[in-house]
């Protein structure tokens, strides 16, 4: 398992390739990558604040829960903080399991938890100013699936 919280960018391709090594019989690997996108047309950057004392342990707990619940061969979580330009990668998760259903479910579980339970806050910087991204009702509801 690898959990990284960092301001530096990461290379999705090499992270994914490293993850796919030594999976010990896992036949299915799922990855998810989140990229800063300019939905409304005026986004200049995304600023991501986090809670340094809590972030690493919260992500580790989530990854460990996923590994146990879906008997994963491995899991990876990388999440950036700081200022990110449009098109930059925000975060990625990867899961490896014997069967595809487990790998997919575990990746969706990780994402649902990262969205609403990991201590990150996004702020959109536009030409007209800056605004905190509001939590989505959908993202909160998504967690019910895993109870």
């Amino acid at each position: 398992m690898r959990v990284a919280v960092q301001s530096d960018s990461f290379d999705f391709a090499s992270e994914a390739a490293a993850f796919a090594q030594d999976l010990d019989g896992a036949g299915a690997v799922v990855t998810f990558t989140g990229i800063v996108r300019d939905v409304s047309g005026g986004l200049e950057a995304m600023e991501i604040e986090h809670y340094p004392g809590m972030t690493q342990s919260a992500l580790t707990a989530i990854a460990e829960e996923a590994i146990e619940r879906w008997s994963l061969a491995d899991a990876l979580v990388i999440h950036r903080h700081g200022r990110l330009a449009v098109g930059e990668q925000i975060m990625m998760v990867a899961t490896a399991a014997p069967h595809r259903g487990d790998a997919f479910e575990a990746a969706e579980f990780l994402m649902d938890y990262l969205k609403s339970r990991a201590p990150f806050w996004k702020k959109e910087i536009t030409r007209d100013g800056a605004e905190w991204v509001e939590a989505r009702e959908d993202d909160e509801t998504a967690l019910n699936r895993w109870k």
């Binding site: 809590m54 339970r117 990991a118 996004k122 509001e134």
Partner: protein, 81 residues
């Protein structure tokens, strides 16, 4: 006790952190003390349903006890991922 603020809670209060001497027994009591300090705290804690709290770096509830606690953090709902 360290009290930490993140995102717009931090911005409204105008500081990332306070060191506080308190006898508050629960998070709610701590919030009441903070609110009574200054209008900027009142503004930050006006709507508790819009806030989340972590006690010693674990997500928690507003009725959580504070005995032995070293760090409390207030912030809006998280928007990671």
């Amino acid at each position: 006790m360290d009290v930490l603020y993140f995102a717009w809670v931090r911005e409204r209060i105008g500081a990332p952190k306070d060191k506080i001497e308190t006898n508050a027994a629960t998070v709610t009591e701590l919030v009441d003390e903070l609110r009574a300090r200054e209008p900027r705290y009142e503004a930050a804690f006006a709507d508790l349903s819009a806030l989340r709290v972590a006690v010693d770096q674990e997500l928690s509830d507003f009725d959580a006890p504070l005995a032995g606690v070293r760090e409390v953090a207030f912030f809006p709902p998280m928007t990671g991922g």
